[in-house]
Amino acid sequence: MDFRVGLVAVEVALSLLALLFILLGAWQRPNTSPTGAWAVAVLALIALGGFSLSSSGIDGVARSFYGLVVSDRLGAFLGLFSLISGLLVLFMSPAYLSREGIHKAEYYGLVFLSLVGGFFMFKAASLLTLFLGLEVLSMPLYVLCGLKRNFGKSPEAGLKYFYLGAFFSAVMLYGISFLYGALGTVNLEGLAALAISSNRHGLMCAFGLALLLCGLAFKAGLAPFHAWVPDVYEGAPTTITAFMATFVKVAAFGALIRILFSLPPDILPVLKPFGWLVAVLTMFAGNLGALYQTNIKRLLAFSSIAHAGYLLVGLLSFNALGQQGVLYYLLAYTFMNVGAFAVVIAFGQRGEENVTLDDLRGMGLRHPFLGVAMALFILSMIGIPPTAGFVGKYYLFAAALSAGMPVLAVIGVLNSVISLGYYLRVLVALFMMPEARAVIIPPKGFGAKVAVAACAVLVLWFGCFVSSPIAAFQGAFSQSMLQPGTIARLP
């Protein structure tokens, strides 16, 4: 076990770039845009994405950073998703940030830093790596959420996120300390020795595990720890909302996968009922909450809670279908969600960037490209073929059925029906209502349009050509540390 820098090259590069951008910020003159920083950031993410893609075919498991970081296919895929999310967000950033007057080089530094944290979360081989990753991911986000200091809701969002995030970081660390106490190790393979019983050791294990999982549930936005999501998503700059809604979900679910699949198999039946309850609560909380929303950002925030619930359904199935489904849905969800937020940005205006359903009236006909793309994203979120969202949802619910959880699958489908109640309102506003705005400012931001177009194409692409990504995702789990017995063979 040694450093092996080649296996953490992406993380190292991201960290160095993050520092560079923050430094650049110090020299940025007022009222200028850090176009150079933006260009470097985009190029860097493209290069790193290519690197991740090429390394996603690796077989087997390797460890680096003195055994604290693991490199396998799962990590490579999740890293790729994160980079994609980051890249799409970067595309729509300059126009939006300039409009809001917050275009600073450190924005890119903070985004990159957050990405680094996420990488360490889903590549963690130890609970401490995971916790540190979570903190590195969260801290920049607290700042980014409050970046629009002059806009009341933005600092409020940052502060709320910080309070609750700090609280749950503490909860998680407390849980890790219990696990360390019980197991004598913080390595993930040590979790295999976990045993829940009524003796003192068992109680410590159970207590620690419960706290750890609750902490991750908070990050993933699962009910009943979801209350922060709408407020924070609404207040944060829209690009950061999109970033959080996609990348943070990838990271949190990645970490959840790491932990759940490291547990000894006899614990899973104990955890499943809780997971079941959380999934149902999450789906209902998201979908019911969204019904009354008129602000698109808030509506999408609630919908992202619901999507986390769907993902949990697939995760709880603990079968190949569910694993493929979770990865497929994370990818699909990244495209449709970033795309939707990009459309919101394109329609938004300085100051009243909180686009409401009323503001969207008739916009689909006036701006057919954005309107049709939005319709596509919404249809994908509902889960209508031939979109990526349909395929992902199909795999998730099919996994629940084949895992013998028909009730959960039915509840999931019922929730999809409820979700029509608010998703279709967006389409109705876009296409079937007369225009309401007195003054129409044409949507600006070439980058946002590029992001919209890319997302739209990819949503359709992954809705039509399913078999090769599914096969690749199948390999992601079989070629990873999660496979039973793999850990024992590690060097």
Binding site: L159, K160, Y163, L164, F167, F168, V171, I196, S197, S198, G202, L203, A206, F207, L209, A210, L211, C214, F218, P224, F225, A227, W228, P230, D231, V270, L271, F274, F284, A285, L288, G289, A290, L291, Y292, I418, G421
Partner: protein
């Protein structure tokens, strides 16, 4: 040589005219529409040449294009079959179809929906050719439904008027009832045979069905229900008279010459299934005979020229089914063949009259058209003579073959009923001729002076079809084996009718003489009634006023159906709508939606924006979850 192009030409025509008809000039549309069918006609001739040049034993070509669907063991290929029977049918369809297309290009030239008209008409040709060329039941059913769709579209072609749209709906709905029978019959075939291919089903029919008590009767009877719908037989004939609301060439092509004979073709195609079930055969003949009498009697008193022809079509279809039921399958197809010529000719003639009189079709208001429209008159006369079964016109041969088959198979009573039908046929046809074309005109002088005869293209169609009515009968001369070329040609597919007849040719000629005499008497009677003593019909009508009213109101069949079937269904549907749908189902759905939104409002209350409250909520849930997980184990 590929069979497929024969259907692709009109399909292409339909697509081109359907998609771009709005941008084309009428000239281009006509070229595309008529030309595509012309290509089909040429292709039919080429296919025919190959067909006749191949040795007699090998005259059946199957062209499998691809496997259309494959469900478990049931494989359904997209396969076309060209044998003697389908050769006859495509010959009729493309030949008559081409001349009716040609006629249409003049007849419809002032219509704004010119492109739409030709698109529908070409689509019909595709569907009809698919129907007769299909090699399995399901593919045939596509053609079957396709022609039904086109029929609906063309009956309601002038959809702006309610009466036309309603006629289209009626045709479609009544046909659906028949289609249901056809479908259930197909299900039974899949159940019994596990395949839908004609060859497999028909060759294995005896061994498969012999053991079954009910399928052996159910399958042919269910298929026959389909035939009664499409071919307008009792009890589903009611749509055909109303179908005359469509443009007249449509009536000629679809509702006389081709589509309505689909049922006859279908029964002939699957005749081995019928041969296994004598009761089914008897039902076919019985329905056929009853239909021919009912329709002919209604036609006696109708004044609308096209309506008379429509009832006449129903009646002639009855003859065809009577022949099928009497196991004279090739005679049924023979009558399809001859009938296509003379009925198309008659309809096209009535179309010319209708054009000249600006839509007037009441024969009581015409008279004396012969002088102004000689060409129309003479072709119409040829058609009427053929229809009445006068030697040497086509109808004489085919009708007589059917009557003798009836005599041989079911005895003198059915024969006599057929002859009675022939008498009525001659009477009502010549009633129309004498009222419309002879005598003093009852038209206004101005209208009469400005009458015009058929335009050149229309005239070509009329003359060709009249020639067909004159000569097409000679391909089959009953009573002589060497001269029975038509059934000889079909003998590879359909069995030769009644061999017993050849033992005693004398009754055959006697029967011929009787039916010919009866037909001539019908013409004579019509002459007496409508030319010699024009007051007589009124007196007779007064004398038998009850019977007259019965016929005039078409036996009140529409009214009876309305009262017994339509009204109850409408009432039931309204009840279901008001009580079940609006109250229960909508109520339930709305209640669910209301509850869901109420729950949403509940969730919203928790989302109050107060971070302390969030923390409290999170902590409480955390405590509950941790305590549960820790202590419930």
């Amino acid at each position: 040589m590929a069979i497929l192009p024969i259907l692709l030409f009109p399909l292409l025509g339909a697509l081109v005219n359907g998609l771009f008809g709005g941008r084309f000039s009428k000239r281009t549309i006509a070229w595309v529409g008529v030309g595509s069918v012309g290509l089909s006609l040429l292709w039919m001739l080429l296919l025919g040449g190959r067909f006749f040049s191949s040795p007699e034993g090998e005259r059946a070509f199957v062209e499998t294009l691809y496997t259309w669907m494959s469900i478990g063991t049931l494989k359904i290929p997209f396969a076309l079959r060209l044998d003697a029977l389908s050769m006859v049918m495509i010959a009729v369809v493309t030949f008559v179809g081409f001349f009716i297309h040609l006629y249409s290009s003049d007849y419809m030239k002032d219509d704004p929906g010119f492109g739409r008209y030709f698109a529908y008409l070409n689509l019909f040709m595709t569907a009809m050719l698919l129907l007769v060329l299909a090699d399995n039941f399901l593919l045939m059913f596509i053609g079957w439904e396709g022609v039904g769709l086109c029929s609906y579209l063309l009956i309601g072609f002038w959809y702006m008027e309610d009466v036309n749209a309603n006629a289209g709906k009626k045709a479609f709905l009544v046909n659906r009832i028949g289609d249901l029978g056809f479908l259930v019959g197909m299900f039974c075939i899949v159940y019994a045979f596990g395949t839908l291919s004609f060859h497999d089903v028909l060759s294995r029919a005896p061994e498969v069905l012999r053991g079954s008590a009910w399928l052996v009767h159910a399958i042919p009877l269910l298929l026959f229900v389909g035939a009664t719908g499409k071919s307008a037989q009792i009890p589903l004939y009611v749509w055909l008279p109303d179908a005359m609301q469509g443009p007249t060439p449509v009536s000629a092509l679809i509702h006389a010459a081709t589509m309505v004979t689909a049922g006859v073709y279908m029964v002939a195609r699957v005749h081995p299934l019928y041969l296994l079930s004598p009761p089914a055969l008897f039902v076919v003949t019985l329905i056929g005979v009853l239909t021919l009498l009912l329709a002919a009697s209604i036609a006696l008193v109708q004044n609308d020229m096209k309506r008379v022809l429509a009832y006449s079509t129903i009646s002639q279809l009855g003859y065809m089914f009577a022949a099928l039921g009497a196991q004279a399958f090739s005679y049924g197809v023979f009558h399809v063949f001859t009938h296509a010529f003379f009925k198309a000719c008659l309809f096209l003639g009535s179309g010319v009259v209708m054009h000249a009189l600006h839509g007037e079709l009441d024969v009581q208001k015409m008279g004396g058209l012969k002088q102004k429209m000689p060409l129309t008159y003479w072709t119409f006369l040829v058609g009427a003579l053929a229809l009445s079964g006068i030697f040497p016109f086509a109808g004489f041969f085919s009708k007589d073959a059917i009557l003798s088959a009836l005599w041989i198979h079911y005895g003198p009573i059915f024969w006599a009923l057929g002859v009675l039908g022939a008498f009525m046929t001659a009477f009502y046809m010549f009633r129309v001729i004498f009222l419309a074309f002879h005598g003093e005109t009852r038209l206004e002088k101005h209208t009469y002076e400005h009458l015009h005869d058929a335009s050149p293209k229309m005239a070509v169609a009329l003359v060709v079809l009249a020639l067909g009515s004159l000569v097409s009968g000679f391909v089959e001369i009953p009573g002589s084996e060497s001269l029975a070329r038509f059934s000889g040609f079909l003998s590879s597919v359909l069995p030769m009718p009644h061999h017993e007849a050849h033992a005693s040719p004398i009754p055959e000629f006697a029967l011929m003489a009787v039916s010919l005499g009866v037909a001539l008497f019908g013409i004579l009677l019509a002459y007496v009634f409508y030319l010699r003593y024009p007051g007589l019909p009124y007196l007779v009508g007064q004398m038998f006023s009850r019977g007259y009213r019965l016929l005039w109101n078409k036996y009140w069949v529409d009214e009876i159906y309305n009262a017994l079937v339509v009204r109850p269904i409408v009432l039931l549907a309204q009840g279901l709508w008001r009580v079940v749908d609006v109250f229960f189902i909508d109520g339930l759905v709305n209640a669910m939606a209301y509850l869901t939104f109420a729950a949403g409002a509940g969730v919203r209350v928790l989302q109050n924006g107060n971070v302390q409250f969030y923390a409290l909520m999170a902590f409480a849930s955390l405590a509950v979850l941790v305590v549960c997980l820790t202590f419930l184990l």
